[in-house]
Amino acid sequence: MKSHFRILIIGAGSAGISVASRLLRHSSAFKHDIALIDPAEHHFYQPLWTLVGGGAAKKEFSKREMESVIPFGTHHIQQSVIAFDPDNNQVRTEEGQIISYEFLVVAPGIEINWDGIKGLKETLGKNGVCSNYSYEHVDYTWETIRNFKGGKAVFTHPNSPVKCGGAPQKIMYLAEEAFSLHGVRNQTEVTFNSANPGIFDVEEYKRALEGVIDRKQIKTNFRTNLTEVRGEEKEAVFENLDTGETFTTSFDMIHVTPPMRAPSFLADSPLAGEGGWVDVHKHTLQHAKYANVFGLGDASNLPTSKTGAAIRKQAPVVANNILSLLKGSPMEAFYDGYSSCPIVTGYRSLILAEFDYFKMPKESMPFNQAKERQSMYHLKKDFLPIIYWNGMLKGVM
């Protein structure tokens, strides 16, 4: 098996595949000289899981065989990386293989820490405890919402970075509307317990979402973090992040957004900066110490929201800057922190939040995107998945 590649990419998620596709589209010289290392057998379009959990989409469309999305001309090494040796331009896999590179792209994504909440793993998928963050359990979210007969419905946002910061509240808005449609809303108390200080970071969208919260009569408890779930007793334990006090609340259903972290093999490596994320320059995406290493996506330390839309803008920057270095030219591609979150507020409404490093709106549409719109809901539900599979992963969008 080939053990040296011009471009070695860690992670065959949306970031890794996009970069590989873009490089291959630029020059056939990269053919068979790019490798993607990822142990996964399947590739998932996770943004759809919000709609799956809300009963508005089928989960099967979010899953594809990994081999079907690996760009032609790229090697897929189906192994796990366990160590980086950037001083010698090498990585080591779990099987003991040493793979060397000319350029390294680090994009392994974010790791879900199911063990970060006591009792969660044991009760997930039963006792009204659901989570959209796993393909296996996402159906149970809809099952729980559909069969809900009223009572306390609790939704959480953890005290850690998460993939798509808006997702924990999206499922709550869908559930609230489903409760109304099923005639149980009057007997239901919907609560959002979030570790964040507010509903959203960007002021313009925050105001709009506060309006949604008011209209839907959702109770909010900010700066609270879920620490334990007692499924059998239908109790959840939270801590107040400002006072350190804990309190227990009962629930009839709870949707848990689990804490997330940098993958351990990355966090313990010389490539990691604070928090274990890949330490890259916020505009060029080049590693702070190793010039032939780049990082992007959820595993990077970029101070912006971790979303697929952010990756869509980061991938061309990484590809173009690698090409510049190969040509001996200065790097000119520049990432401005763009990120986007299509916040579903109901079955036919969505606020399309788009913003940059400065938390300033950076909108693509010729209208006010802070307004809930049906057209934007259809963009998310009907068009973005198609654009993802056929545009983003092909390196053209």
Partner: protein, 182 residues
């Protein structure tokens, strides 16, 4: 007599002792056949150019071809302008190529086509169309059922108060205003 002749080793010999120089020499010696082939082919190209220029008949033929074609001063100027516009054209062509790649990928992606077709089935517009069609059927049935009913001027005046009629009339008024302004 030079100092070298007095017993000192010549400087080039010292240089030859460096391992990296020896390595380079070995590399060059190994590459000599390839270098020779490259020089030969370059020489052939130069010779071809020289002979073509000296070949009067070939040059006359080329000149005839150019004079018979539509290439003139304007064409040369256009070519220069076109070269100037190449960066913009390249961007445009790349965009078109990306769109074509995307369209081709969607066309060949059965799963995406199936998803789109199921989305169209659930689409609000389709649903609204269906609802409208059902309403039209219902209206027709109701009209048929009440075909002997007499509609008086008082009934019409009563309709005027209906919110739907009022809304339609407001639209009609706004339309007339816009038309008159134009």
């Amino acid at each position: 007599m030079t100092r070298q002749a007095e017993g000192h080793e010549p400087r080039w010999a010292e240089t030859m002792e460096h391992p990296e120089v020896q390595e380079s020499m070995t590399y060059l010696l190994r590459k000599l056949p390839e270098i020779q082939a490259a020089v030969e082919s370059l020489d052939q190209i130069v010779q071809f150019g020289q002979q073509t220029f000296q070949d009067r008949k070939s040059m006359d033929y080329l000149e005839d071809q150019i004079s018979l074609s539509s290439i003139d001063q304007e064409s040369i100027e256009a070519l220069v302008k076109l070269i100037g516009k190449m960066p913009v054209l390249l961007k445009l062509v790349e965009r078109i190529e990306e769109m074509a790649t995307f369209a081709e990928s969607v066309w060949n992606d059965r799963e995406s086509l199936a998803y789109m077709s199921s989305s169209i089935g659930q689409n609000t517009l389709t649903q609204k169309g269906k609802e409208l069609w059902e309403k039209a059927d219902h209206i027709q049935a109701l009209a048929e059922q009440n075909k002997d009913e007499h509609i008086s001027i008082f009934t019409v005046m009563k309709w005027m108060k209906d919110p739907s009629v009022q809304k339609s009339l407001r639209y009609a008024k706004a339309t007339l205003q816009v038309m008159n302004n134009k």
